[in-house]
Symmetry: C2
Subunit: 336 residues, 2 copies
Amino acid sequence: MNRRGTTTTVVFGAALLAICQSVAFAQPAPGPLPSWNDGAAKKAIIAFVERVTKPGSSDFVPVPERIATFDNDGTLWAEQPMYFQLAFALDRVKALAPTHPEWKDKEPFASLLKGDLKGALAGGEPAIVQIMMATHAGMTTEEFDSIVRDWVARAKHPKTGQLYTEMVYQPMLELLTYLRANGFKTFIVSGGGIDFMRPWTEKVYGVPPEQVIGSSIKTTFERRNGKPVLVRLPELNFVDDKAGKPVGIHQHVGRRPIAAFGNSDGDLEMLQWTTAGAGARFGLLVRHTDAAREWAYDRASPIGRLDKALDEAGARGWTVVDMKTDWKVIYPFEKR
Amino acid sequence: MNRRGTTTTVVFGAALLAICQSVAFAQPAPGPLPSWNDGAAKKAIIAFVERVTKPGSSDFVPVPERIATFDNDGTLWAEQPMYFQLAFALDRVKALAPTHPEWKDKEPFASLLKGDLKGALAGGEPAIVQIMMATHAGMTTEEFDSIVRDWVARAKHPKTGQLYTEMVYQPMLELLTYLRANGFKTFIVSGGGIDFMRPWTEKVYGVPPEQVIGSSIKTTFERRNGKPVLVRLPELNFVDDKAGKPVGIHQHVGRRPIAAFGNSDGDLEMLQWTTAGAGARFGLLVRHTDAAREWAYDRASPIGRLDKALDEAGARGWTVVDMKTDWKVIYPFEKR
């Protein structure tokens, strides 16, 4: 076959394929974001994605610059009645108690082990830091990875009885998929622990460990039983919350996102930083308005407080999602 | 067309395409790593890649776990007669001198401005830190990005007269490409500044900013002229060298690489950490043996000292590249 013959046949073969495929898929496609009602939020998301992906458009953004950042607690998965990582820490305190007899007389552990959560947390932030360090440090990074994997595979949410990794928002899973299908790289940017999220984000959200940004403790390289390991130290390294979020994004990604998704005042600076860049930008806040299917809380909530960021959303043109009216379903298990 | 007809035609079209493509590309392909001589190093690289990418092989590694980490100075680009980032800093001192009249009487700046580099660096590490902080901090992240872009577009290497970004190793560029073509994600893990590398690594190495790990200073989120910015502070954040490299890799990637590439004792812990993992692992050291085409230095060099890591290479089965005999060309500009 000469060169021209080859080319013609290739073109013919490709055309045939295209025709056959269009016949095979002639039923109307379901369209993006099927669990979103056709309201302003869904329209705003799709309009933004179409603007930045349309070749030749003045708002076109090349694929490598299509960076989208997502908060986790309250944005991708639920955060009530307490941050899920705190539930993990409390379970770990119980599991470790037999090897820590001194905890019986030492706060906040003593109250915790008596089932008095309120008493344990009465110590405020220092008490929480003590609980976190006692349960998150002292082991190698690989040991901690196993501990987290084991916990997320078994622990159940106190209200729904579902695995915590089932308490994710179906509409947000669709949003992650939709953005990636349009060339976006999706990152998690959470106040939660980076190494608490990484063992399961790839399976649950399709976000690989290297695209997870979070708070961290220090680690140190050493040799244990002749093998090099990284050991987790009871010392804070970085707090990826509020003004720390743009810092964490710069440290990990090295470019400003063009879209950011959050739900609380902890995400305010991330949305400010993202949407202040030149060109088309998108900011979105998930508002927890559905007491029946999820929870309803905002300005007065100690967990996931949404107050200043809500005030700023209007002025800055950020999209506010009303969970009750914008989302057809909340969790994937509702659809089964 | 009924469903069976569609399927048959699609299969037929696909087969036709496959045949035509095999005809169109019947000339023998050049093979990977064309600038590498057919020695032990090239063979070891290809054997490793084939082992981990062969489906069904006991050494098969799924694509998301194919993480390869590369040192930069002396591994991907040259590092003589001084680290290129130090050359950048010295140029910046000269550029900034008019706005710093006090430098005329203040070391290490006074010596530097008189052209006495040796005198300036006589102050050791504190002198270098002073120079780095004076030239790398105080501006926003976006301003620093522009400064670096401008410098790499203009500054020339004192020996070759080439742009610094031309002083990269052609065989290593081919290695990066070869690994990525085999599903690897390639990361840079350098003692150099993360924000000094990011403005040009995508263009020069095909490594996007989010896959660059390096040393860093702290940044802080603030508002300048009503706009949110990140400001670079004269305060060390992280040193990504020696035992810091595995820590930096864990922080950024969250999984252990399966292959690591370095050239000096600064890479020893990265290679130890990488090759101690379970399954097939690969460690490689570039040895600078070519005084004619590049430089020859190892155990006694203050820059890029290769001593302990070279001793360990044999015992651990790491591949040692001899630049003089393994590489057909050193720099891309030799081929023009």
